[in-house]
């Protein structure tokens, strides 16, 4: 069985994110990191390999992004992936969700995975949708926000929380599964794995290498145009108390609640 894990480089959570007003795109400068949700996807792949229910031949990390995205692949490899694929091409800049999903699907097609895993959302775009887009292009069944996944020959049994409670769904392989952060506790990479990550095979591919039609990606190929950025209605800032003396803090909270007749 071959598992592909889709990963993404995102701005570090501690860095203030902004939109470049001239392009309408997210300013992706500054400190970067592997999307935290994707570490759960890699860990899920490792647990399938170590679980012993099926034979895992290979775990391949796949990303799309500029040259700096290589670092996300190194991190993914240090966490357990055997090798990685980097889709990078100037023609991809400005791709919307549908174009990105299409490009990733074409890249995955070449790998013929039995299972595609990804994090349920990315830290920057707050979008839960890439998995379902990729799945439709690959003509595979798909489930998102999975928090428990048992693998058997040819199928998965997945659990997730949906609108009315917890659902248990059987999914035949090959499939695309996006995982939530409750699915596992990702391991820390060993120093040896970190040092060795740069030596593992990394294939850089451009759109022509994987059969992506130039007209379907990038700004030109995107079906949605975002712009007209504006600020949300101002909300009066709340009162902030730094707790130094807890007795005093509690008095202040009580007074605040009293004032609003909440006690």
């Amino acid at each position: 069985m071959k598992i592909c894990v889709l990963v993404k480089e995102v701005p570090d959570a501690a860095v203030q994110k902004r939109i470049d007003p001239s392009t309408g795109r997210m300013d992706r400068g500054g400190e970067k990191n592997l999307n935290p949700y994707d570490t759960h996807a890699i860990e899920a792949a490792m647990q399938v390999r170590e679980g012993g229910a099926v034979e895992v031949d290979e775990i391949v990390a796949v990303t799309m992004g500029p040259s700096s995205a290589v670092r996300a692949l190194h991190k993914a490899v240090s966490l357990g992936a055997d090798r990685s694929v980097h889709l990078s091409d100037d023609a991809l800049a400005g791709s919307d969700v549908a174009a990105t999903g299409y490009a990733l699907a074409k890249t995955l097609e070449r790998e013929s995975p039995d299972l595609v895993l990804l994090g349920q959302q990315s830290d920057d775009g707050e979008c839960y949708t890439i998995g379902a887009v990729v799945a439709d292009h690959l003509k595979m069944p798909s489930l998102t926000q999975v928090i428990k996944m048992d693998v058997a020959e040819g199928k998965l049994t997945c659990e997730r929380q949906a609108e009315y409670g917890y659902d248990t769904v059987e999914v035949a392989l090959p499939a695309v599964i996006s995982v939530g952060d409750a699915i596992n506790e990702p391991r820390y990479p060993s120093l040896k794995a970190i040092m060795g990550a740069k030596k593992k095979q990394l294939d850089a591919v451009a759109i022509g290498d994987v059969g992506i039609e130039a007209g379907r990606v990038g700004e030109e190929g995107s079906r949605v145009v975002c712009g007209e950025f504006k600020s949300p209605p101002e909300k009066a800032g709340g009162t902030i108390i730094e707790d130094e003396d807890t007795n005093e803090t509690v008095e202040k909270i009580l007074a605040w609640l009293d004032e609003r007749k909440l006690i």
Partner: protein, 326 residues
């Protein structure tokens, strides 16, 4: 013109439509009216989709209900149905209310139709005969507007679209035969809607004390229960701690849980992710206790306390008890 008709998906469960879906039908009817078209609604399920139930969508503005027989609770069969209906009917736009299934269906449909898609939409409007969608971005610090080159898929944020009764009669019902894609039938529901943990009621409480991952462990909820007892309220939880098994699903706030608007919402150890915010932001008074001064919850709380909840909550409970006793 057919392309001005809007196709909405309505989710149902145990004989009732989802409130967010009904909001999307109401909003779909409003914008279809402005575009000069009709609001059509696709529903998918078994025999429980009776004529009465399907027709009842007319009260929210649906002109026509397209009824498909198929497996409930899964996205891909609905993608097949909506793609077929939109191709046959020429609909330019599809609209979804907030919720997990809408995200999945909308994304799959965008891939199938090579359409533009916007999620977490908080408002839609018509301008020059086109539908525009507004979406908050970057932790709600900015709002961007989406325009669609050709077809557009709009996925609402939870509770973004207001449910309205427009007093329409029963909607016309059309049964549609859909040939499902081979991959759409490769996922099968084993059990649906399982409730985990005790059946608690948080929706009627005037005061809610909510706990998140910052509690550190399941036992952290004991202190919240004592505070809730002292204040005469109930205890709620975030998705993360419910998934971890620390607290019952019935007490969960947010995207796949309950939406509440109590007089007081006290959030302890909750960072304030969008998925949580959408379920409680209408609360009258929001108090947050968190040790991370950068937690997003401080951006929408009325009173924020930066500190250790393990120190603050027990003392607050004592003080409330003393006040009420004295």
């Amino acid at each position: 013109m057919a392309q001005n008709d809007i196709l909405v998906y309505a989710l149902h469960y145990e004989g009732e439509f989802n409130k967010n879906s009904l909001g999307a039908v109401s909003e779909g009817a409003r914008v279809a009216g402005e575009l000069g078209g009709e609001c059509h609604v696709l529903v998918l399920g078994g025999d429980d989709l009776s004529d009465d139930l399907a027709g009842s969508l007319g009260a929210h503005g649906a002109a026509k209900v397209l009824r498909v027989k198929g497996p409930e609770g899964l996205a891909q069969p609905v993608v097949d149905g909506m793609a077929q209906v939109m191709d046959a009917g020429g609909h330019r736009y599809a609209l979804f209310g907030g919720g997990l299934l809408g995200f999945e269906i909308g994304a799959g449909l965008a891939a199938r139709l090579n359409a533009g898609v916007t999620m977490e939409v908080t408002a839609v409007r018509v301008e020059g005969g086109e539908l525009l969608a507004e979406r908050p971005i970057l932790g709600d610090s900015s709002i961007s507007t989406s325009r669609y080159r050709e077809r557009g898929i709009v996925i609402g944020r939870l509770n973004a679209f207001e449910l309205r009764a427009v007093g329409g009669g029963a909607a016309a019902i059309e049964d549609v035969d859909v040939e499902f894609s081979p991959w759409s039938t490769q996922a099968t529901m084993v059990t649906r809607g399982e409730q985990r943990g005790a059946d608690v009621n948080i929706e009627d409480a005037d005061i809610l004390i909510a706990g998140g991952r910052g509690l550190g462990k399941a036992e952290g909820f004991e202190a919240l229960e004592e505070l809730a007892g002292a204040l005469g309220g109930a205890v709620a939880a975030t998705r993360a701690v419910v998934d971890a098994g620390w607290y019952p699903y019935a007490a969960q706030i947010g995207q796949t849980g309950k939406t509440v608007a109590p007089k007081l919402y006290l959030a302890a150890g909750i960072s304030g992710a969008i998925q949580h915010k959408v379920g409680m932001q209408s609360s009258e008074n929001i108090v947050a206790i968190n040790k991370d001064s950068n937690a997003p919850i401080f951006e929408f709380s009325d009173l924020g306390i930066v500190g250790d909840l393990n120190k603050i909550v027990p003392k607050l409970t004592e003080a409330v008890k003393a006040r009420k006793g004295g």
